[in-house]
């Protein structure tokens, strides 16, 4: 059984017990434990069920590469599925639950899949569920969705209670990994004066060195690590962040770091995760190496672990996975585990070494401790169900004859080490196959390159394929020196500490154990534990013609689970290479993509949640609106009142009331969101003549003119009223959504095409609050406020004037978007609310009625005025909308003019704007199509037009609409059928789009 031993445990504090819950049961661990070490200490060997076959699974590894020990953490609003027990630090009150089983971890009916496994091979889903076709959607998919899925999604109603944030950091040299290699690289670079930031994903520096032993400059590695840490901490140009993973390397030296601040201590206030958005000149990846499993039958039974993990649990946490551990290996490193176990008083019945012989110092040491070593040996299979029962020994060169059954309760396996090349590869770093170590390592001649074309990633230590402690230190120092040199600081002579460790004999590549294993064994030899992919699946894929490693990956799902195949990829592609009879480097690897391990969605979102999820733009009168029943409508990032609801009133009623009150007496609209761009210069008139379809240069100071703007494609993009302020200066109004876009449009043409024209622009949109005072009593209200002459004679239609009203400095525009007598009054934004209040107070006698965007829309539609975004959709030209009057015939050029002369644009069959009136007074559906005779080649009903705006007109008390119609203006009076959802077609008559006051009598008073 797995248990806590009395010695060792360098990372735990035995004076600080910590209690936590696993599947409801209370367990005890110590401060410093990971959830995995604490579970093992409680003899909880079985931690989850596998994804596909629901096989019992336990801890395999001791770090972020763990595929099996995946749990749901927390409860309620803090529940998170698929968390690795090996990287979860325990705390008092931690709650973990196992995954992928029903009804319980110990008794799971899904295990039936295991019995059916010979039918569930690679590509099973593709082959099985394709016929009959309709079954996919209605039978197969619902069933598969129910039974598949890794972990359980949090409850849809739950809300993350934690805070997250981003942080932008800049450095010369970023070192990823705080093992001895990372520390040495950081020291070398930092001593030279370069700015260094070191990230370590765990809570501890030193990496594997303190567990693996040896000496550095005569010190225990742990002591050297502390010395290095202290030196870095004392340097003003160096910084270490622990619990911070280098998650991804991106173009031009951009790196994401994932800092976990309170996962281990949820009682601490402050952000849970911080996403570091780092820009660095050079990156040193000191990310170490990951041990590979061996592919023998039963290698997934709980108790079969990586040899390094067994050693880690013993040395770091004082936990023994078993009393009797068989070590299976193809290299010397695993002997360290055997030695450590025996030195701790535990039993190692045998070391099964696949190599024909071994001569290393570690083998000698093991033998001298009395450990039985079998060379040329294989684990033919491991027996056991929910935990290891025995190992069957055979010969590696054979087919799987069992020579001996060795009883044990744990197996420590090692198939060699793979450098962690993920971060090297994220941004295009290439790999080279190291035959001697049977591993891919970074090819320094093909490093990722940055904005200047020079390499910006350097691998260090084991991540570069340097495994002996002394080589690690040397390699790391050179990496630090190279980085410093590349950022322009000179290191001079560098000091490299002396590392001592036993020399190791060469490993022998072992991709299948035994090498000639029969199919029955191969079907139980797991490559990818998390996605349940076996040796036989990859071989089947190869047999079925999936030769590319990327295809095989997708067909078998090898490496596609949350662990992204950290343990399985190399074994999988070696298996594929063997099956194809190819060399491993020719088969190659799949693409390494960030993040290195999953990072939280919260960290990605950062601060963007709740009220700061996105910017909400507010006018100076926002608070008044909010307090007076505003039914809000988003318009870009602005919030505008759609209507103001009085107590008990429906939105529809409120809109009708607002329209009628305005038409009858007096309405008030917050028009502050309209864009206001000042354009000035000797060439301003000429410039606006190019921007607008109509002539602006002839506009007289004091006057206003409605104008249309098109893109160079000819399509209508914005409209608004232009006021000429003086000879050199214009003020251009844009639509609410158009201010920033049109200002950018102006700057683009001025900066990139007509840079010799003398024109300046300023977007003054937010300098002013603007209020439309609308209705037959509008003038009376302004006259009551007093201060300036707003009579017809002094301020005619389409004129503007500066002055004061009620003591406020104003600019008054006599313009109308409603057909009523109307003034738009601009005041400085900081006075906007006071001015609004003043108008409301003074307007009481005329029952002044604030109205929202829907009343605005209805009133403009009653007048046949187009709305950008309703009548236009990026494919409509002004000519389609009957706006030819606003297109200058005199101008040689304007933006869009040439495009409007293209054949398709002048086609008489283009749909044109008309008004539509339903026969029964109902309201047409928005976007409804006008039905034409017959059907197209796809069997769809032909169309001859569509509705662009549709409303109930309270003024006319009937449904009115605008639409684009084939030959529309020539078909006045014709009745057309319109689509009407699932109802019978709606009938509407083509009419003039100006429904109300066509002569303009109401506004010209």
């Amino acid at each position: 059984m797995s248990t806590r031993v009395q010695t060792q445990g360098r990372l735990i504090n035995r004076d600080r017990p910590v209690s936590f819950k696993f599947n409801g049961g209370l367990m005890k661990g110590y401060q410093g434990d990971t959830l995995a070490s604490a579970l093992l200490a409680n003899d909880q060997m079985l931690i989850g069920r596998s994804f596909k076959y629901h096989r019992p699974r336990g801890v395999v590894a001791s770090g972020s590469e763990e595929p099996n020990a995946i749990v749901g953490l927390g409860t309620g609003n803090r529940f998170e599925p698929n968390q690795r027990a090996t990287t979860t630090e325990i705390f008092h009150g931690l709650t973990a639950t196992s995954q992928n089983h029903w009804p319980s971890l110990n008794y799971d009916v899904g295990i039936v899949n295991n019995l059916l496994s010979r039918f569930l091979s690679a590509g099973f889903y593709y082959k099985m569920f394709i016929h009959p076709r309709p079954f996919w959607k209605h039978v197969y998919e619902p069933f598969i969705r129910h039974s598949a899925g890794l972990g359980k999604a949090p409850d849809a109603e739950s809300r993350d209670e934690d805070r997250y944030e981003h942080f932008y950091a800049f450095t010369d040299v970023l070192v990823i990994g705080g093992g001895v290699a990372g520390l040495q690289s950081a020291l070398t670079a930092a001593r030279s004066g370069a700015k260094v930031l070191l990230l370590e994903q765990t809570a501890h520096l030193g990496g594997r060195a303190p567990v693996d032993g040896g000496t550095i400059d005569g010190m225990e590695p742990e002591a050297w690590v502390e010395k290095a840490r202290a030196e870095l901490a004392a340097l003003p140009n160096a910084q270490i962040r622990t619990r911070t993973m280098g998650a991804g390397v991106y173009d031009h030296g951009y790196v994401l770091g994932y800092e976990r601040l309170t996962d281990h201590a949820p009682e601490v206030a402050g952000p849970r995760h911080r996403l570091w958005r780092i820009r660095t000149a050079q990156i040193i990846t000191a990310t170490g190496a990951i041990e590979r499993p061996l592919s023998f039958a039963g290698n997934d039974i709980p108790g079969v672990m990586l040899a390094s993990a067994v050693r880690d649990y013993l040395v770091n946490y004082g936990v023994s996975p078993g009393d009797r551990t068989v070590v299976v290996t193809n290299n010397d490193d695993a002997y360290r585990t055997a030695i450590a176990l025996v030195q701790a008083g535990l039993k190692v019945p045998a070391i099964l070494d696949a190599r024909p012989q071994g001569r290393g110092a570690l083998m000698s040491e093991a033998k001298s401790l009395g450990i039985r070593v079998e060379t040329g040996a294989a684990a033919v299979k491991v027996k056991g169900a929910k935990r290891v029962h025995s190992v069957c020994r055979g010969v590696q060169a054979g087919e799987g004859e069992v020579l001996e059954e060795i009883f044990c309760d744990a197996v420590a396996m090692s198939g060699g080490w793979s450098p962690v090349v993920h971060l090297w590869s994220h941004c295009g770093g290439k790999l080279t196959w190291d035959t001697e170590q049977a591993a891919f390592r970074p090819d320094p001649d093909r490093a990722p390159t940055s904005h200047d074309g020079n390499p910006f990633v350097i691998a260090s230590g084991a991540a570069d394929g340097a495994f002996h402690l002394n080589k690690v230190l040397q390699n790391a120092a050179v990496a630090g020196q190279t980085a410093a040199h590349r950022v322009g600081v000179e290191t001079g002579g560098i000091v490299v500490p002396n590392g001592t460790a036993p020399d190791e004999a060469a490993l022998a590549p072992v991709w299948m154990m035994p090498q000639g294993a029969k199919k029955k064994l191969r079907m139980k030899a797991w490559l990818d534990y998390q996605n349940d992919v076996k040796v036989s699946d990859v071989q089947l894929a190869a047999q079925e013609g999936f030769e590319s490693v990327e295809h095989t990956k997708r067909y078998t799902t090898l490496g596609m689970a949350t662990d992204q195949g950290k343990l399985s990829n190399i074994n999988g592609l070696a298996t594929l290479a063997n099956a194809l009879g190819e060399d491993i480097p020719r088969v190659g690897t799949t693409t390494f993509r960030p993040p290195y391990t999953p990072i939280s969605m919260g960290a990605i979102a950062g601060e963007a949640r709740a009220e700061i999820f996105q910017p909400i733009r507010k006018t100076p009168m926002y608070d008044w609106h909010d307090a007076h029943g505003a039914h809000w409508e988003p318009v870009g990032h602005w919030r505008r009142p759609y209507a103001f609801l009085r107590s008990g009133e429906s939105v529809h009623d409120a809109v009708n009331r607002e329209v009628q009150a305005t038409r009858k007496s007096l309405g008030l609209l917050d028009a502050s969101t309209l864009g206001k761009i000042i354009v000035k210069g000797p060439d301003a008139g000429r410039f606006l003549d190019m921007l607008y379809t109509n002539m602006m240069s002839t506009l007289k100071p004091g006057k206003c003119r409605y104008g249309l703007m098109c893109s160079e494609n000819g399509f209508l993009s914005d409209d608004g009223v232009v006021a000429r302020i003086d000879e050199d200066t214009f003020l251009c109004h844009t639509t609410t959504g158009g201010a920033d876009r049109i200002h950018a449009h102006m700057e683009e043409w001025l900066q990139t095409e007509w840079w010799d024209w003398n024109v300046w622009t300023v977007n003054a949109t937010e300098q002013f609050a603007q209020v439309a005072v609308v209705g037959p009593n509008a003038r009376k209200l302004l006259e009551k406020l007093g201060g300036m002459d707003v009579s017809k004679e002094a301020l005619g239609f389409m004129e503007w004037k500066d002055g004061t009203l009620g003591g406020f400095p104003v600019r008054a525009y006599r313009i109308s978007f409603s057909g009523e007598l109307s003034y738009e009054i601009a005041v400085p934004a900081n006075l906007g609310r006071a001015f609004w209040d003043k108008l409301l107070e003074a307007g009481k006698e005329w029952d002044i009625t604030p109205y929202g965007t829907e009343a605005l829309h209805i009133m403009r539609a009653e007048k046949g005025f187009i709305m950008i975004g309703d009548e236009t959709d990026g494919t409509v030209i002004p000519q389609d909308l009957g706006l030819d009057w606003a297109i200058s015939k005199k101008k040689e050029d304007y933006i869009g003019k040439r495009a409007q002369a293209r054949a398709h644009m002048t086609d008489p069959k283009r749909w044109k704007l008309v008004g539509l009136e339903t026969l029964d007074g109902s309201v047409l559906q928005d976007g409804a199509y006008a039905i034409a005779e017959g059907a197209n080649e796809n069997g769809q009903t032909n169309t001859q037009g569509r509705v662009t705006s549709t409303y109930h007109s309270p003024t006319l008390n009937k449904g009115i609409a605008m639409g684009l119609m084939l030959n529309g203006p020539d078909r006045m009076g014709e009745v057309i059928s319109f689509t009407n959802g699932d109802n019978p077609a709606a009938k509407a008559r083509i009419v003039n789009p100006v429904f109300f006051d066509p002569e303009g009598d109401k506004q010209n008073v």
């Binding site: 991106y250 173009d251 031009h252 030296g253 951009y254 820009r279 390159t449 940055s450 904005h451 200047d452 074309g453 160079e712 494609n713 950018a744 700057e747 683009e748 900066q751 990139t752 095409e753 840079w755 040689e892 050029d893 003019k897 040439r898 495009a899 002369a901 293209r902």
Partner: protein
């Protein structure tokens, strides 16, 4: 994430401060131009694997449009320069020729 230095304010701006504006050095064709020229101006774009000349705007910054020469394959930025020119500066072309012998782009080489 790209890092391009704005030639107007000197900021080495990350992509989130920038707005891409497509191909550089287009010659505008207006009214009176023939269909081929106009279609080419409006729709036809270079799509090189390699050296490319582009327009960018430092939109979350000084607001200036500028040009950049960039390799679409390696993302190397050879240089950035004024928006107010109809062709890349000679020293930049020399730099590119040295780094990418034999490159061509439209009629540049």
């Amino acid at each position: 994430m790209l890092l391009i230095t704005c030639p107007y304010c000197g900021v080495a701006a990350e992509e989130t401060e920038l707005h891409g504006g497509g191909e550089a050095h287009l010659k505008r064709f207006g009214p009176g131009s023939n269909d081929d020229d106009f279609t080419s101006y409006l729709f036809h774009r270079e799509n090189p694997k390699g050296v490319h000349f582009e327009r960018w705007r430092h939109v979350n910054g000084c607001g200036k449009w500028f040009h950049a020469a960039r390799c679409t394959n390696t993302l190397e930025v050879f240089g950035s320069y004024s928006a107010q020119t109809t062709e890349p500066p000679k020293d930049l072309l020399d730099t590119i020729r040295a780094k990418r012998p034999g490159f061509t782009w439209r009629d540049l080489a």
